[in-house]
């Protein structure tokens, strides 16, 4: 074997990837976060969900920026929740956006509040990637990155995901896909504004696999929207019963 073909003992990307876990473990709930549908859930891949597999690429260009991609991504990680729209609340762990860490999400949707989360699957100085768990509307990944193109910096959000279950697939086709697009457009616009630049966000969509995966229809039992709805109704009922009892 050619020596150059041999694997190095410690690959250069070793520290960038999360360690393989069977199920997610959330250590501590950040203040103000509703923590449901993450603990003990397995992560999913873009191949594991039910709906059509889409790759969406959102880009915004910082023209003539003096900042480096690494500076921008560092700020993006550190202030990740601030760049989200108000209806999409992210709660990173105290450790921050690092490989293996869980970020809780409380999102306001037309179906009510939804509690879910993501795990940081990969992180290097120019990019980071989140992977979704069972019950999340999407099964797949989203990668945030910045890169130097000539004198400009290109900010990018790229999702590779499919709806996790049939209910989500219907929702995405009716309304949720557009809502999600607006979230990532908001994030890029807010990040660009942070660096003092206006942003025109472009979106490129590609349907990677148009098929529905009927073998994954059972994912609906983990549906975070439904579980949160049940939790919300039952907790209100409990309060009502307690109020009547006193």
């Amino acid at each position: 074997m050619n020596p150059s073909d041999q694997q190095p003992r410690t690959p250069r990307d070793a520290e960038n990837w999360a360690k393989s876990v069977d199920r997610l473990n959330v250590t501590g709930t950040p203040t103000g976060a509703l923590h449901l549908n993450v603990q003990g859930r397995q992560t999913l891949s873009p191949l594991k969900g039910f709906g059509q597999l889409w790759q969406k690429t959102f880009q915004a260009t910082l023209v003539g920026s003096n900042h480096t991609p690494a500076e921008i991504v560092r700020v993006w990680k550190e202030r990740f929740p601030e760049f989200q729209p108000p209806e999409n609340r992210f709660f990173p762990s105290v450790t921050g956006v690092k490989p293996g860490e869980v970020v809780l999400i409380n999102a306001s949707t037309p179906g009510g509040i939804m509690s879910t989360g993501v795990m940081v699957m990969y992180s290097d100085e120019d990019s980071f990637t989140l992977i979704t768990p069972q019950g999340h509307p999407e099964s797949g990944w989203v990668t945030f990155s910045a890169s130097q193109v000539d004198q400009n910096i290109v900010l990018q959000v790229q999702t590779l995901a499919r709806a996790s279950d049939p209910l989500y697939e219907v929702a995405f086709r009716l309304i949720a896909s557009g809502m999600q697009d607006r979230i990532w457009q908001h994030v890029l616009t807010a990040l660009a504004a942070h660096f003092g630049a206006p942003a025109v966000v472009t979106l490129t969509k590609q349907c990677v696999d148009p098929r529905l995966q009927w073998s994954e229809v059972g994912n609906i039992r983990h549906n975070a929207q439904l579980h949160t709805l049940i939790y919300t109704i039952s907790s209100r009922l409990r309060k009502l019963v307690r109020g009547n009892a006193t």
Binding site: R12, D13, W17, L44, M121, Y122, W141, Q158, R211
Partner: protein, 123 residues
């Protein structure tokens, strides 16, 4: 240490291993290699084979964008009812294929011998 340039080449001469061909991958797999990787896959598909075998033995770096490219190949393989087989993953890249759940959808073998043996059984 300078990055190794990426290459993706069909094993020459193209070996029709019981309706399968091997693509040898070398170097760093990241977003910049999309064209080269897809071109190699295109050439493999043109051989009209049932199985495409990816040899990761020479890969020394994969980032998340690179893994997304592998997912793209897997989606193409599933669409055309081809089997995507992988060998040569180090323990580290095996972990990555576990965490990204790619192992659920690929036939992963430790070495070329076992991958080729599997192709023989499929015939």
């Amino acid at each position: 240490m300078p990055n190794k340039p990426f290459s993706a080449s069909l094993r020459e001469p193209v070996m029709h291993l019981n309706k399968g061909v091997i693509i040898d991958l070398h170097g760093e797999i990241n977003g910049t290699v999309e064209v080269a990787l897809n071109a190699a896959y295109d050439r493999a598909e043109a051989e009209d084979v049932h199985s495409i075998v990816l040899n990761f033995g020479g890969v020394d770096y994969i980032n998340s964008t690179g893994i997304a490219l592998i997912v793209g190949l897997l989606a193409r393989a599933r669409k055309s009812s081809r089997l995507l087989i992988v060998f040569g993953l180090s323990d580290h890249y095996m972990d990555i294929f576990n965490i990204t759940r790619l192992v659920d959808f690929m036939n992963v073998y430790p070495d070329e011998q076992s991958a080729v043996a599997q192709l023989s059984q499929l015939q």
